[in-house]
């Protein structure tokens, strides 16, 4: 069985990069606004439906419509901030979290109302049913998974670059360090908040376009990603986007390797268990302090 290990590591890595991208967006919201966003998986689901409709109505391949999906979900995030989160963002306590819980129920059932609970698939994309043979066939990867992994890590790196190198990115960093001080320095925190929500949306928009070509699309398809992203962000240490990347990879590897040895039905239980175990050693997250 050990000869399968490289195979598992490779597919775990690809999956981990997707998780990392989803988690990085969540981590940004968490760091900047200190909000647990329970509706985040639903952003992903909406992005996947959007990808599906672009494919079905305009024959636009998911990879082609990827920038559009990033913008679509950016707008969803931006509007969610302006219409809902804005009212609760600085209220102490659990209000903001509960508002996102309401949003989660709303989005999920909106999708069910508009598009029925049936599974939908995109089967004729560029990458569909293709495989990549590496090292003389020692390593076989599904093209959709490979593209999703590579696309996700590129987007994640782009977000890192953006946060570290651009003016807006630095404003985001400053706000997450100290809101009041940032305000005193003339940073428009309101703008930072809404932009961060949009940027987090863009992250899942990209992830949605990448996942849509090999993942079933239905009203609850984002749910497990949202939950796993919460665990990844906590595992990496709150607000630490680098930590979210590394933890995402760890969780991807856990799912792929652990799922192989324990049985696929236990892979999610294992992910949540890994969190509980690792936190015993690092109670503030792997990269927290």
């Amino acid at each position: 069985m050990l000869f399968l290990l490289p195979q598992m590591v490779a597919s775990g890595l690809m999956l981990g990069f997707v998780y990392a991208l989803v988690a990085v967006g969540l981590s940004l919201i968490w760091g900047v606004m200190d909000i647990i966003n329970f509706a985040y998986g639903e952003f992903l689901m909406l992005g996947m439906y959007s990808t599906f409709w672009f494919f079905t109505l305009f024959r636009m391949d998911p990879l082609l419509s990827l920038p559009i999906q990033a913008m679509v979900v950016f707008m969803i995030g931006f509007l969610v901030y302006k219409l809902l989160i804005k009212r609760v963002v600085d209220v102490p306590g659990l209000s903001a979290l509960l508002a996102t819980f309401g949003l989660r129920i709303f989005f999920r059932n909106l999708a069910q109302f508009l598009w029925t609970p049936n599974y939908r698939f995109i089967n004729e994309s560029f990458v569909a049913d293709k495989r990549v043979f590496l090292f003389d066939g020692a390593l076989i990867l599904g093209m959709p998974q490979l593209v999703a992994g590579i696309g996700s890590i590129l987007m994640t790196l782009a977000v890192f670059y953006f946060v570290q190198r651009t003016r807006m990115g630095r404003a985001i960093q400053a706000t997450s360090m100290d809101k009041e001080a940032a305000r005193l320095m003339g940073i428009d925190t309101e703008k930072v908040y809404s932009f961060t929500f949009g940027l987090a949306g863009a992250c899942v928009g990209v992830a949605a376009a990448l996942l849509a070509s090999f993942y079933p699309i239905y009203p609850e398809s984002g749910s497990i990603f949202g939950l796993i992203a919460l665990v990844i962000v906590a595992l990496g240490g709150f607000g630490n986007i680098r930590g979210a990347l590394y933890s995402g990879v760890i969780i991807g590897l856990t799912e792929s390797i652990g799922g192989f040895f324990l049985g696929a039905e236990f892979k999610y239980a294992l992910i949540f268990l890994i969190y509980l175990i690792v936190m015993q050693v690092r109670p503030k997250g792997l990269f927290g302090w």
Partner: protein, 332 residues
């Protein structure tokens, strides 16, 4: 302070008696059903409030205990033909034991790390029950119909017996909350919530008291799970272990007023009729309109009344300095 407590106690008695009389005043089955769920959620809120409201540890995993109670009652009759009451006792004990086991690892974490750990725990339970053949995994359990009797915990079309059973559980949870709140134990919990390090320096052992709070809360929560299984007569892991259930308990308690004995009652009184009547009015099409409206209402209520109903009424708990808004800020 003693006078305030007396007034508070009289008010509570009045409210409890009023709730207890309500189902007798109507023959409307829908209304009786709403009252049953209202009392059940209010009781769940009281149980959750012990850990989160008093001890300040925000749990997102209480559906784990609820689910254990539900499965224990269902399995007792379905597998062994035993009375669901025996299952309920076993379930409550199992939930308490499990709370005991997981408390040590999860209480080492603080704040949101703790909350996510409880969420992870709830998800693990769901995943395990989903793949556990002994309880028919994801298929769930249809509890076989038995002759209506108290021993069988089935009353078929009759709602009143169900109401008084869950009402008794609610009173138990309410009494437990008040007893804890007014005892030395409750004082320790509040001290831990306000400043754990300071509490420790005064000789309070936070691990011990948080564990006690969790164990009693879990045992109570499981009772309601058993009730729910017997009331609906069908359970599956997605229903009874769902994160949405855990969050609904959080929602109604916070909405009513976190850390106050009135919180779960007020929150459930607002939320459960809203959710049930939208379901009765708009559900049944299978299109999720009712839940869309419910989600929308949650967003409206949380964004317009972020301090809870109790903040709106200006009521304050005699033992809590600063009232509901401050509790909420420290519990996050």
């Amino acid at each position: 302070m003693d006078n305030r407590w007396k007034r508070q106690r009289n008010l509570l008695w009045a409210a409890v008696v009023a709730i207890g009389v309500l189902p007798l005043l109507t023959r409307n089955v829908n209304l009786q059903h709403v009252l049953i769920l209202f009392v059940m959620y209010a009781g769940l809120g009281e149980a959750w409030n012990i850990v989160t409201g008093l001890a300040g540890q925000t749990s997102f995993g209480h559906s784990a205990f609820f689910g254990i109670g539900a499965y224990a009652a269902a399995v007792a009759y379905w597998k062994y033909g035993a009375s669901p009451w025996i299952g309920m006792a076993v379930g409550s004990f199992a939930a308490a034991a499990l709370a005991f086991v997981i408390s040590y690892p999860v209480f080492r974490l603080e704040g949101k790390y703790f909350s996510i750990a409880t969420l992870a725990f709830g998800e693990i339970m769901m995943q395990l029950f989903k793949s556990w053949d002994y309880v028919d995994g994801a298929t769930g359990i249809i509890i076989p119909v038995a002759p209506a009797s108290l021993v069988n915990f089935q009353f078929h079309g009759e709602k009143i017996p169900y109401f008084y059973i869950v009402f008794a559980m609610f009173i138990l949870a309410l009494a437990a909350f008040v007893a804890v709140e007014r005892s030395r134990f409750g004082m320790y919990l509040k001290a831990i919530k306000n400043n754990q390090d300071a509490a420790m320096s005064l000789g309070i052992n936070p691990a011990k008291y948080k564990l006690l709070a969790m164990v009693s809360s879990a045992a109570l929560t499981a009772l309601f799970g058993s009730f729910y299984a017997q009331y609906i007569l069908y359970i599956d892991p997605f229903m009874v272990f769902s994160l949405d259930l855990s969050l609904k308990i959080v929602l109604l308690t916070v909405l009513g007023g976190l850390g106050s004995v009135w919180g779960p009652i007020l929150g459930a009184a607002l939320l459960i009729p809203l959710s049930e009547y939208t379901r009765i009015a708009l559900g049944g099409t299978g299109k999720g309109i009712d839940l869309m409206v419910f989600g929308l209402l949650i967003m409206i209520v949380t964004s317009f009344q972020p301090k809870g109903i109790i903040g709106l009424l200006g009521k304050r708990q005699p033992n809590l300095k600063g009232g509901a808004s401050k509790d909420a800020s420290t519990a996050a």
